[in-house]
């Protein structure tokens, strides 16, 4: 018999959880209809329809800006991270987490990421069957209007389902499937095609339209490049009384100064930066990790002020490959 959670009990579950942990979920902004992951205590504003938030939930494990450690007079303090629950991301975003985890912990583990990741608990909600690419705690599959099928994935998930809200058996609807459009990012020769496209005129064309704003990186669930920056407080005697922190913050390889050192910029041309963005996602990453740096969520397309669409770019490269 399968484990079931009734739709009407979801609010109770969120209630139970939010008594112990901060819970975040996708919430729809009434004014401009944007979806954002925000604190929730009930299903009141929860918006579960598989559509994408503007900023992916990666922000919980990899915030736009966060202190890695604080310091005071040559003493370093690493603050203990607090547990939190992210509830209601769809399967695609959950897969984004799975890939991001692989990227950040292999071949060398980023210990700051891991420390943060350990305290972020994921409860995925989607109508699709769980896939093999998940690194979550609990998966709730919506099988009909009234029921969720429940799959625990970790000891934390096992702990949650001890609640009386979960029951065995009950009526279970038919499993729905969602149709994804042809995913160009899974073309079998894509790495080769992108690698060989360095002389393709498309890169010059994109360089003319791209604003170099970096938004495509910020909204990407699998972009993870970062900058570190030291901050210190201005005190009366700064030599003797120095305190501050070292922040890690989002960066983007599309920004003109991304590769700049004091006297030299190693990637000064927009054309090379754009090619590098595609090269990383569709050449280097598949070869290094076995998957592309793209879950095909389309966030970068909706956010790009220059209307650059990677699906169109890749299709053009594939089309021109044999010419």
């Amino acid at each position: 018999m399968s484990l079931v959670l009734h739709q009407k009990d979801l609010t109770k579950l969120i209630n139970e959880l939010s008594n112990k942990w901060p819970v975040f979920g996708p919430v729809k902004d009434k004014k401009n209809a944007e979806i954002r992951f925000e604190p929730i205590t009930s299903t009141k504003n929860l918006f579960l329809n598989n559509s994408s938030s503007i900023i992916p939930p990666k922000k919980f494990v990899f915030p736009a800006k966060e202190a890695m450690f604080h310091f005071k007079n040559n003493h370093i303090e690493v603050k203990q991270k607090k547990e939190m629950i992210i509830l209601g991301m769809n399967r695609k975003d959950a897969e984004g987490f799975f890939y991001l985890d692989k990227l950040m912990t292999n071949p060398v583990c980023d210990d700051s990421y891991l420390e943060k990741r350990k305290v972020v608990k994921l409860i995925v909600i989607d109508s699709l069957t769980p896939s093999n690419s998940l690194n979550c705690d609990l998966y709730l599959q919506r099988v009909d209007e009234k029921n969720y099928l429940v799959y625990p994935y970790s000891s934390f998930g096992e702990e949650i389902i001890k609640s009386k809200l979960f029951s065995h058996g009950g009526s279970v609807g038919t499993i729905s499937t969602r149709h994804f459009p042809d995913n160009v990012t899974h073309h079998p020769r894509l790495d080769e095609i992108v690698e060989n496209s360095r002389e393709h005129p498309i890169w010059d064309r994109l360089a003319e339209t791209c604003f170099n704003c970096g938004i495509c990186s910020y909204v990407c669930p699998l972009c993870y490049c970062f900058e570190t920056e030291d901050n210190f407080e201005i005190t009366k005697n700064i030599e003797k009384d120095c305190k501050g922190c070292r922040n890690r913050k989002w960066d983007s390889c599309m920004l003109p100064d991304f590769n700049k050192v004091t006297f030299h910029n190693f990637r000064p041309k927009a054309k090379d930066r754009i090619y590098n963005w595609y090269y990383h996602k569709f050449v280097r990453m598949p070869r290094e990790y076995g998957f592309p740096g793209c879950i095909d969520c389309g966030r970068c397309i909706s956010s790009c002020p220059a209307n650059i669409n990677y699906r169109e770019v890749l299709k053009e490269l594939i089309k021109d490959d044999r010419k």
């Binding site: 310091f71 370093i76 490049c225 570190t228 030291d230 070292r246």
Partner: protein, 274 residues
Amino acid sequence: MTENNTIPFQMKITKTIGLAPMVKSLKLSFSDPKQANSFSFKPGQFVLLSVLGYGESVLTITSATSDLPQIEVAIRSVGNNTQALHRLKVGQTVFVRGPFGNSFDLSKMAGREVVVIAGGIGLAPLRSLIKTFEHEPKNVGVLKILVGAKNPEELIFKSDLVNWQKFAKVLLTVDTADKSWSGYQGLVTKLLKEAEVNAKAIAVICGPPVMFAPLVKELKSIGLKDENIYLMLERKMKCGIGKCQHCTCGGKYVCLDGPTFSWAEIKDNWEAFL
């Protein structure tokens, strides 16, 4: 390394030495004896050195492993953090992460002719290799050291250069000579002829990227194989662990796969020599 590879550990400055007008060498010892015991490195590896509040700088270790539990680094004062490092005095604290990066392939060099070619401050990382040969001569057959600098004042590790003549052929050149200079003048490429480099030698190059193309061309015309010509690449290495993406170079991470690459590895890399 601390338990967390993104959190630095403490070291203390035990000596500062002025090497050139903007270049200082710092000798560092570990504040924590446990750290001193667990720390090891190989010639060619780098550390990220920091004055808290000022950021981190990539610095290749210039001492040999036999100098442990102390390490040395050479710092050119160019940015916030390197300027802050220059202001520090003996006894003061710095913060360190590492070591990171690959190292020179010593097993390949044993018994063979090794030609070390440095331009300017590029001699700093190569000093670790040269000092290793000094302490363990079996690691090398014949050692030739070729160094170029802008002018005699910019030549770093002068006393070492004198000392190294005891076991290596040391040739120096400057772009602009002054009255004190009676040696070679011109590019370091010129020294290759004087050095009588063997076709089977291994060359290790570190210096400004403008040196790379003419040196590689010359070395290849002498008969050196692509896999025996090593270059040290510089990039904006921020994290040291292959994550932040600042140091990527085509399919390579300079902080993980490098900073030392053979010519065979990177000659076709689309952005190694942009």
